[in-house]
Symmetry: C2
Subunit: 449 residues, 2 copies
């Protein structure tokens, strides 16, 4: 819910042009909360209020606005004013915002920035969005090996205002090659021996990310080693920048949400569900929905080919949706479990035989149980005992097939270098549907045909 606590006061302050109070509002609470209290204002009102903050705080508060507000503000005000704000925005966020804006607008703003910022933006823009290079900022603490702990702390103190984080110091040589890492914790602990150099303290075995590395791989490293930040290097191990933990949390959430969408046969939305254009949303859903529709059309033709059996044993028809959904639901479960286990790194291709064994056992137990229930119902509906047997036998087969399908197809897809989540549940269900009908009719033929 939008926080409306301060809205009346804020609007009064704006109407009365009460500078002093607006300045106090901007500078008192932490920036995140300040932005939260401004949520209910219009973009225009919010921009006005924002001008009353100290320059450094301004970009901090701005950073907490929703993306649509940020883009709106950057696109509708005087380029000169906007450029001043853009200078202060952290590098990694800045390049993401500029990439969402129309070229003409970016061309209006870029020339108004200092040349260092302009060059930095060009450099970062060159990287693909979902790679380490696309996520990083270059505002990283780089110091030389020969500095003592005390000198390093003092230097950090001087640079602290411009750096993304001062908690990891990267030790580089004259060629900007990454030699080691020292944490500020180590620096602070060494205050008792202030003449120890960075070179003596540093950890040389540094976990790094290549600039071209995929963001999922970067997130996995940060998670595995519980890092606060990960340095980004080029192929020559020259230090290019840094990615911090907060950006990695966002990547983890993004990747897992996309997985969930793909499993449901939705191509990943690039925007919020409520923000995305209706035609785009329709397309992203319609693409796979249509493919699945064609797959399902095959079931119609399959059933048609069994026309005579269905006429002879009309009661078989009543159980079609039951059998299909039993197979589909089981297959869905297997696919989802395997897909999420692969995403979290719990299952790899080499585990395929363990997965198959588990799925075989579990599907037999599940299938036997549901077959029993199905049989108890079929007994009262089917015209004969043998007829009733068709149901449990089919259910057992369909559930086992569904589980084995659902579990192995994602693994095969991953092996083939494709995204296992793409092996979406409905696809598995589609295959299992047709298989289910074929099994069903043939079991019926054998038993009562």
């Amino acid at each position: 819910m939008v926080n409306t606590l301060f809205l009346p006061e804020l609007r009064e302050m704006l109407a009365a042009n009460n500078q002093a109070e607006l300045v106090e509002f901007c500078n008192t609470l932490n920036p995140g909360r300040t932005a939260e209290f401004m949520e209910g204002l219009s973009n225009e009102e919010a921009w006005e209020v924002l001008q009353h903050a100290d320059p450094s705080r301004r970009s901090e508060i701005f950073g907490y606005f929703a993306e649509e507000r940020q883009l709106a503000m950057l696109q509708t005000h005087e380029p000169a004013q906007v450029a001043k704000l853009v200078e202060e925005i952290p590098e990694d966020d800045r390049v993401d915002l500029l990439q969402e804006m129309p070229e003409e607008r970016v061309d209006e703003i870029l020339p108004l920035l200092p040349i260092a910022d302009r060059r930095n933006i060009q450099r970062l823009r060159a990287y693909e969005g979902e790679t380490a290079g696309g996520l990083m900022t270059t505002e990283v603490a780089k110091l030389a090996q020969n500095l003592t702990a005390r000198e390093a702390l003092e230097e950090l103190g001087r640079q602290a205002g411009e750096l993304e984080t001062i908690y990891y110091i990267y030790v580089v040589d004259e060629d900007n090659m990454l030699r080691g890492i020292v944490s500020t914790r180590q620096l602070v602990s060494s205050l008792a021996r202030p003449t120890r150099t960075l070179g003596e303290m540093m950890e040389t075995d540094v976990v790094v990310a290549l600039a071209t590395e995929d963001q999922e791989s970067v997130a996995e490293k940060v998670e595995r080693y519980n890092l606060l930040a990960i340095p980004v290097v080029d192929s020559g191990r020259r230090l290019l920048g840094i990615i911090t933990h907060d950006d990695v949390i966002d990547v983890v959430r993004e990747e897992l949400t996309e997985d969930a969408h793909r499993i449901a046969a939705v191509a990943p939305l690039e925007d919020n569900y409520l923000q995305i254009g209706l035609f785009t949303l329709t397309w992203k859903r319609g693409l796979w929905l249509t493919i699945l529709f064609f797959a399902a059309l095959l079931t119609a033709f399959t059933l048609r080919s069994y026309e005579s059996e269905l006429e002879s044993f009309a009661w078989l028809v009543w159980f079609i949706p039951l059998i299909i959904s039993a197979g589909g639901n089981s297959g869905s479960q297997s696919a989802t479990l395997v897909i999420t286990a692969m995403t979290s790194g719990e299952v790899e291709f080499s585990d395929w035989h363990r997965v198959l064994t588990r799925e075989s056992v579990v599907s037999l137990m599940l299938g036997a149980f549901l077959a029993f229930i199905g049989f108890s119902v079929a007994i009262f509906i089917a015209p004969s005992f043998r007829g009733a047997l068709v149901i449990p036998l089919t259910l057992l087969s369909v559930i086992v097939c569904g589980c084995l399908c659902g579990a192995t197809l994602p693994i095969l897809f991953k092996r083939a270098g494709l995204d296992p989540a793409l092996m979406s549940n409905p696809f598995v269900a589609g295959i299992v549907d047709i298989l289910g009908i074929v099994i069903y009719i043939n079991v019926a033929r054998i038993l009562i045909g």
Copy 2:
């Protein structure tokens, strides 16, 4: 894949009892990598190698082992040896491990720990696992307001070895009430004015978590404010402990994976997919599978009640799976999109009318398109033109119903205080199945009945 690079050497060193080399192996690389190279060893071998690390490093390397290995090691060795290790393990991880172990074993180890550790474990065990209290560690930097920047840094240097993180300092008064927060970045920047006190520098508007707060809510705060760590307080704002970003990343991954499981009608697994017991896995899947099975049984009775129509128009039967899957897949998409949007905070209950509008428009577009394709096929199969019309009209209605159902049920569940992901896709599909059959037969009755 398990890293086997050093395995031969490690086994040689163990066989030859080469102390010096084993010590070097343990202390050279960073702990995470060291643990990685030990993955292929048996638990016994790994324990042996581990004894050669310095005490502080030992617990760090141990921290990177897989949980099954950690538990196995803690349960199979001399209690005295194990207690020495347990002393060094970070508090928050320690209490989680002890909670996974049988009571008798914990009772063997606890008395061998120093009384401070024993008390600490008892205190942390009292909290529910998935709350702030259950995630936190008490190893937090607490200093008084009157300390100067220089004094604070020196004190930090002394305590650094025992603290989870030294990057946020929490300013508390004599009653241990949280007054403010100072970041080490601020301290380092203030080195030029070393007589400034913590009280003067601190931010008083601190984002906190209550000890009883749900872990999802804690994760949301840490993400929103890009925090490195969040302090945990009791109802009197007394500082109890701290939760760091790396634990939050784990919570985010855990919560989103559970969501994906619930959406597929699997009760959240408490263990890894490959580790969980087969009966447990069957139960967690079977519970909802059975409920859905009963729901699907209703489709059998529904079709039976339309026995005469199905006999008169046998061709209608061929399209049953197509119609059911079209409704089910669309409903799945809607449900997944809305559920993930709610989890990420993009959609709240107050957005229900926006969601409904979007779904109405999108479902009409998707339905119209698929209805057209369905009609083009039905034309060749149905015995009459009016008959062929049954298909597109049904498809359109079923897809629209499916989408609206799939989108609104999670919102209603959330409003009712239940987990929206519980409104799993198959449930939506089940409802839509029955509705689909009813719509289908009735449209057929009206057009050709």
